[in-house]
Symmetry: C2
Subunit: 473 residues, 2 copies
């Protein structure tokens, strides 16, 4: 139960003091309690404090408290203070019959990776980085330095495109880490990848437009584009990546994950990249390249992003710090061709104004001081070990067809077994793994995340999983 | 110029070492410089550091640096280090011809209150609170306490509806400060009011729907609803507030600012509130009550919000900490009838996932510790003085018809003069004031914000303004 300031109630009292002061205090507090403004469990200030705030004699307040206590509205707890004891009649029930209904399609689905869900013992959930690797001390130092009156113009409104220093830092960092030649002007800072996709969709999609997504693919992207009125078409993925020949002739957006296909994990081949860009060069289509976790690489050098290969200005590149640092930073970015930049910034401005200046300024320093590069290098070594353990367990596991991948925070395997049944049974054994069916209409398989996995439990968890799978093949 | 880690370039080197080590380092760095990954001005690490990172002899790296310097790619600055000296050919130019175009309507307009704009000497810009009043020390303490591995499940994903502690704290605070009986379940945390309006619009507006807004009114709301496909209709405001008789027969949303009409500043009368709710009770329309700055009150007690008076479940209440604390917190909230809650949370999840857990947890503590109530009380006294000064100057100012208002951070006055010309001329005299025409198609007048105003300059600024106005009447 939180401590509650009752200052504003008191202000009302002073303005309308009728009859005795005690009665006025009593009536005001009782009204606040009865109609729920001071709900059960609220702690009231000591009579001395309240009397001083009100400019009344302490006796006036004490008298009111006594009367309320006698009537059961208040109760005292030894050593803790005076609390509201009255449970108001719940008023929201009369609102329940309200006839306002949302448009169809807005259905909330809890994510399995939410903090509210209990973590399984053997935690192979997808999409969670290891928060224990994050350099909190350095981050706190930078964040507090930017949380000062002098640090930013915090009273005024900031740039919707993002903090200029962060845009420049991102451009420089991508040059070094991903071989992307981008200027700060091409960068739009977002609240993460989902937000980047939202801005793109708002700016490009007219209801009825076709948007092509990978199948299997990332469900929140599919749902977002559908919510903006698009007809979402799934396009298959083969060993080279998105099947360009399967793309609809006309579509507004192609959403793809070439660095580390979500969820299968392969990289799009150089030939397929070229084919996709050639296809896109012949029509007014936007290619959205979602590079969500390929900072973590375990072999071979990364392939050039589509954004770097694109000569026609068709590609938008979406990056995020959710995996490379922490999802709770709520910070990602878009690289955009010049023709869309102002519109994307306008969409950001209209949608939620702008991002957190202190976080953005701190992140700029974090990148420029080399802390991001150092973190990625260190975390890559840790994740490489977990990757190796999982891949080692899956190689030769009866019933599981490992899909090789060299980057990111998860690995996938196909199966002929009923993957949904296997995943359910594994969960009962304490093994949390994703069902490929959650990402696909057709394929059966499993997705093993290792960002959250305790490395000392991976072998045991995979052995348990193998045992479950063996009973289904 | 920031310090740049070149670790990832080096990793590539180790994987493909052909010929001499010096040549491999040389080629890799040259390639990175030529194609812009290491742009001009980037600082390279000392040869000793780079050699150690690579596991090479220092001489191999030094030889590569010397060769690159001899060829003009690098230059040394005494006492500073080695820098990239080569300006790559700008590649973005070839992207400029890209044919991707946004849908119509996405036009970025810089806000006059942005931090990038120079502040006028006599600063009466609208919508900026005084950041100097914000208790930074207390806030930093709370924020850093929440920026720790143990504080939140920062690696996993948080609730789209907002941190549970913050939702509960907001519900309690509104009970005390605004007389609103709301449970934590009715609260959805947003990135501010604009974001709240966006969620409502996404969930309720089908393209072609009519949305009614106040005229004069808040342009970003109008633009947002239009961007979501609504036909936006302006409805007049009189001395009692929004003219209910002027509302279109069928509309999906009515957007209103009853506590402190934006920008005229009046409160909607109790009779008009009742009339609006009666009207809404007879049709499936959502009333959006934007209560953006009425925490600051200078006389009389506040009227009950529409949300509290609403028996039919038609009202959504949008609140924000942008004015009561700081816009840079990027935090506001919605109170919502139960029928819309899940859809609004789904829209938030699809749009940008969820808000910043550390900020939300810190804000919950800030409210529960009584710091918000104390800040509002203290800031109200400061703002009351500025309000009094401006009102005092406007009363009896020839050509200016003051509109009385008892809350918020700005005051409006009507005029028969050409307000646009007056505002322009006042700006040349160092007086920054808003033209009412920016918010209205018809009326001429002025809006004086005082959140950012230096109290010692208000009288002088208002006298200068009166002098300018006198030349136009």
């Amino acid at each position: 139960v939180g401590h509650i300031g009752v200052e504003n109630v008191l202000v009302d009292l002073i303005i309308a003091p009728e009859g005795s002061r005690t009665a006025a205090v009593y009536r005001a507090l009782r009204a606040a309690i009865v109609d729920g403004r001071l709900p059960a469990g609220s702690r009231l200030p000591p009579t001395r404090t309240l009397a001083a705030d009100l400019g009344l004699a302490r006796g006036s307040v004490a008298g009111a408290y006594e009367r309320l206590a006698a009537e059961g509205y208040l109760s005292a707890k030894v050593g803790a203070g005076t609390f509201v004891a009255f449970e108001r009649i719940n008023r929201t029930s009369r609102r329940a019959g309200g006839s306002l209904k949302p448009r169809p399609g807005w259905v909330f689905e809890a994510l399995p990776t939410s903090g509210g869900a209990a973590a399984p013992t053997y935690d192979f959930r997808v999409g969670i980085p290891d928060a224990g690797l994050f350099p909190y001390d350095a981050w706190r130092r930078l964040l507090t330095a930017e949380t000062r009156l002098k640090a930013n113009s915090l009273g005024t409104y900031a740039e919707p495109s993002g903090h200029p220093a962060l845009r420049a830092a991102i451009a420089r960092y991508l040059g070094v880490s991903r071989g992307v030649s981008a200027s700060a002007e091409e960068v739009v800072v977002t609240n993460g990848t989902q937000h980047a996709l939202d801005l793109i969709g708002r700016v490009l999609i007219t209801p009825g437009d076709v948007v092509a997504v990978e199948e299997p693919g990332y469900p929140p992207a599919r749902r977002l584009f559908a919510s903006l009125g698009a007809e979402v078409v799934g396009v298959p993925v083969d060993a080279d990546g998105l099947v360009v020949a399967g793309l609809p002739d006309t579509c507004t957006i192609v959403y793809t994950t070439p660095s580390h296909q979500f969820p299968l994990g392969r990289a799009m081949s150089p030939a397929r990249r070229r084919e996709l860009l050639d296809w896109a060069g012949r029509r007014p289509v936007a290619i959205v390249e979602d590079d969500y976790d390929s900072e973590f690489r375990y072999s071979s050098r990364p392939l050039e992003p589509l954004y770097s290969l694109d000569a026609a200005g068709r590609v938008l590149y979406a990056g995020t710090f959710s995996k490379s640092l922490l999802p709770s930073l709520r910070t990602g970015f878009l690289l955009t061709p010049p023709g869309l930049r102002d519109a994307l910034v306008a969409a950001r401005q209209m949608g939620d104004g702008y991002g957190q200046p202190a976080v953005q300024a701190a992140l700029a320093r974090f990148i420029d001081d080399g802390l991001l590069a150092r973190h990625v290098r260190r975390a890559s070594k840790v994740y490489a070990d977990r990757h190796r353990q999982i891949v080692g367990a899956l190689i030769g596991m009866p019933g599981a067809g490992l899909i090789l991948s060299a980057a990111g925070l998860h690995v996938a395997a196909l199966t002929d077994a009923d993957s949904t049944a296997v995943v359910r049974e594994a969960a009962r054994a304490g093994v949390g793994v994703d069902d490929l069916r959650a990402y696909s209409t057709g394929q059966t398989g499993f997705v093993f995340g290792f960002g959250a996995a305790d490395p000392s439990l991976i072998a045991e968890g995979m052995a348990l999983f193998a045992g479950v799978l063996a009973r289904h093949i």
